[in-house]
Amino acid sequence: MQFRLERVYRTNRQALFALALSVTGSRELAEDAVHDAFVRLCSNPLEEVKDLVPYVFAAVRNSAIDIGRRQARSETVVSLFAIDVPTSSSGEASEQAVVRSEEDRILREAVESLEPALREIVILRAFAELRMSDIAEITKTPLKTVETRYRRALQTLEERLRGQM
């Protein structure tokens, strides 16, 4: 079991952390949430769990919500993303890199400003690449609602991109 859990963590650590960060808004609390989730996972029998990945995401989400309830959400919300600085090179390639970087910045900010229910679905779908049915289970939301929210999230992101470029 330890090996399975370890593999899930190694493969999904950024997305798990992003999900917790999205809920708590604080790097420290997000790390505590991931840690607490794994402590609980280790103390539960998991042999019966067929697909461990969504199970672990659900555990981290629940843990982050628990911690979020106990602690006030941080006023300075930490970004979900690492910021790529465009590498300096000359000519057109450099210009394209700057444009691309600007688009990425807008997209990052657009994701972060999504309402929480949409943002978590974007994290679970676009970054963790989970199935919609898994996301429905993780978020305890009907499948249709998840699909609608995801479409709405993408639509919002596209509008932001179009509006600012």
């Binding site: 402590v39 280790c42 103390s43 690492a82 779908r125």
Partner: protein, 161 residues
Amino acid sequence: MVPQDLENRLRGLKLREPSPELDNRIERVLANDLESLPPNRVASQLFTGIPGARISLTAASLMLGLAVGFAIGSSRSDGHDTELAATALLEHPHEFGPEEQRVSSELRLLFLEAEKQHIGATPQERMAFWQEKTGETFDVRAHVADRRFEFCRLCHLANGS
């Protein structure tokens, strides 16, 4: 932009990395592989970092919560529940099975050890003190092998024990 393109653009963004400290914490949790260990071994393994002579009521209460949590299979993590379960186990050990009773007697030894060191506060008071200090609900499993456990220990040391 079609949704597929937008999804690809999103996937091109780099998510923030968790700190190496989190990786270490998860590694330690997985290394302990709590589910495969009996309660007493879980407790002793997790407290190997604490020098024997410094076993305090804090450690005893932590161990008690941990042992009770595993021994009676409670999935609840609320500090109050832990406290109630701990009290019940200590006060009415006959109502529990032989394994729980054995854990209970081991815990009694820890409490005696603590009393020898003239530590006045009860574990419940310690938990309450810790909760008041941190604003968090006491969850023993969450405080093992993590920075808050270090804080917990420091907190109690600073308070005179």
